[in-house]
């Protein structure tokens, strides 16, 4: 699988300890949810950030998507809390 640029915001970014990283998930990772599961194994920060799936939102190449969306040929995937703008 190709490399994916992960970007994180708000408390997801804070818990992981970085706003972005390049990752190369195995072929078994199909959906954004699979990617989150896989990333949660990579550090305690990731595990803590991804603890409660119902509080996570995602975007593939800057389009908002549900977590069960297939990654496809994504170049940039964002994981973040529900938005609170305005």
């Amino acid at each position: 699988m190709a490399k994916i640029r992960m970007v994180y915001f708000a408390w997801v970014r804070e818990r992981i300890g970085t706003g972005e990283e390049m990752v190369e998930p195995p072929a078994s990772v199909v959906t954004v949810g699979d990617l989150v599961d896989w990333l949660a194994e990579t550090s305690s920060g990731h595990a803590e950030a991804f603890e409660n799936r119902s509080r996570l939102r995602a975007a593939i190449d800057q389009d908002f998507v549900p977590l069960d969306t297939p990654i496809g040929r994504a170049q940039e995937i964002a994981i973040f809390p529900p938005v609170t703008g305005g």
Binding site: Q62, F64, T84, G85
Partner: protein, 162 residues
């Protein structure tokens, strides 16, 4: 006319109103969100998703223009640190008649609240906390879709929140 801005600098209402009024129509409705001065917040910090934010705001504005035949839609959102009483967001809708302007203005801010990738962090004394999303925001946004009969879009949002 559509004007979108995501900026560190303070929001200049007079300048934005001039822009909204230049469209030559009869009615301008605006909404301004402020850092509340009454609940002990010392600093509010706004984080966003550069690129995705601007694209989302443009889509929201285009949606308003198409639906209400607006002659102008303006969305200005501040990012970075700010203080009580300062403006976080300003939206304006300009139309020939007031019904369209008022409805479109509500639409712009309701959609922005649920669609645009902004996150607020409040600092009260030594305690910093990320603001939790409000269920009411999704209810407010959903009413525009219900009225559209736009079930595909509604389903997408439910999936996203599920």
């Amino acid at each position: 006319m559509i004007h979108i801005s995501v900026q560190q600098s303070p929001i200049d209402i007079a300048a934005e109103m001039t822009r909204a009024e230049a469209a030559g129509a009869g009615a301008v409705a605006t909404f301004t969100g402020l850092v509340r001065a009454d609940d002990g917040v010392g600093t509010l910090e706004l984080e966003h998703y550069p690129g995705a934010t601007e694209a989302t705001l443009l889509k929201v504005a285009e949606g308003g223009v198409a639906r209400w035949q607006l002659s102008a839609a303006i969305i200005v959102h501040r990012v970075g640190p700010m203080h009580p009483g300062e403006r976080i967001v300003f939206v304006a809708a300009t139309a020939a008649h007031r019904g369209a302007a008022l409805e479109a203005c509500a639409y712009l801010i309701d959609r922005l609240k649920t669609d645009a990738p902004f996150w607020k962090r409040e600092t009260r004394g030594a305690d910093a906390q990320w603001v939790e999303a409000r269920d009411g925001d999704h209810a407010a946004a959903a009413r525009w879709e219900a009225r559209d009969g736009d079930h595909a879009a509604a389903a997408r949002w439910e999936a996203r929140d599920g």
